[in-house]
C-alpha cells in the first residue's frame, strides 16, 4: 500500500539521521562541534519520523497532534542548542584547535 511505503521511507530517513547524530555526538572533539550534529539529529531525524507517522495514521485528530509535536521540536531544538552553546561560551570553555591536534577537555581553560 502506498501509504505504508511513504511512512516506511520517512522512518528510514529519520533513523539514518539519528544514527548520524549519535555518531557525531560521540566522535566530535569539543562541545561546540558536538552541538551541530545533535541539533540536526533533533530536527531532521525526529521530524522525519513524526511526519512519517502522520502519513501512516491517516486523517484523524492524531495528525494535528503530530504536526504540533513536529513544529514544537523545530522551535525547541534550535533554542536548546543555542542555550547550551551560550552557556558553554560564557563559562569560557576553550575551542578545539586543529593545529595542536589535541582534544581540549575544558578543565585547563
Amino acid at each position: 500500500m502506498a501509504k505504508d511505503i511513504v511512512a516506511a521511507a520517512f522512518c528510514c530517513i529519520g533513523t539514518f539521521f539519528f544514527l548520524l547524530g549519535t555518531t557525531g555526538l560521540l566522535r566530535m572533539p569539543d562541545i561546540f562541534t558536538r552541538l551541530h550534529p545533535s541539533t540536526k539529529c533533533d530536527t531532521l531525524g525526529a521530524c522525519s519520523v513524526i511526519i512519517g507517522m502522520a502519513v501512516y495514521s491517516g486523517w484523524s485528530w492524531d495528525v494535528f497532534k503530530l504536526i504540533l509535536i513536529a513544529c514544537f521540536l523545530l522551535l525547541s531544538s534550535a533554542t536548546c542548542g543555542h542555550a547550551i552553546g551560550r552557556s558553554a561560551l560564557k563559562r569560557d570553555i576553550r575551542y578545539w584547535r586543529k593545529e595542536s591536534g589535541e582534544v581540549d577537555d575544558g578543565h585547563n581553560a
Binding site: 539519528f18 519520523v49 509535536i69 577537555d105
Partner: protein
C-alpha cells in the same frame, strides 16, 4: 507494518543507550546536558512510535507533555550553568 515500526523503535532505543555514554563521561557539564537532551528527544520519538504500535491514541498526549518538559529542563539547566561563580563539576 507493526514489526517494521518495532524494529525502528528498537534501533532508536539502542541509539539512546549509546548517547548515554556522552551524558556519563562528558568532560564538561554542558556535554552532559546535551547528551540528556538527545536521549530525551529519542525517547519522545519512541513514545510516538509506541502510539502506533499499540494503536492507543492517548500516548500522543504523553509525547506532547514530554516535549514541553524536555524544553523547559534544557533551557533552565543552561541558564543555571551560565551563572557566575558556579564551580565546574569534576
Amino acid at each position: 507494518m507493526d514489526d517494521f515500526l518495532t524494529i525502528i523503535a528498537i534501533i532508536i532505543s539502542l541509539n539512546a543507550v549509546v548517547c548515554l555514554y556522552r551524558a556519563a563521561v562528558g568532560p564538561t557539564t554542558q556535554d552532559r546536558v546535551l547528551g540528556v537532551n538527545i536521549v530525551g528527544t529519542k525517547t519522545l520519538v519512541v513514545v510516538v512510535l509506541i502510539t502506533f504500535i499499540q494503536a492507543e491514541s492517548f500516548f500522543l498526549d504523553v509525547a506532547i507533555v514530554y516535549a514541553l518538559l524536555l524544553f523547559v529542563v534544557t533551557v533552565a539547566l543552561s541558564r543555571y550553568l551560565e551563572a557566575e561563580g558556579w564551580e565546574e563539576m569534576k
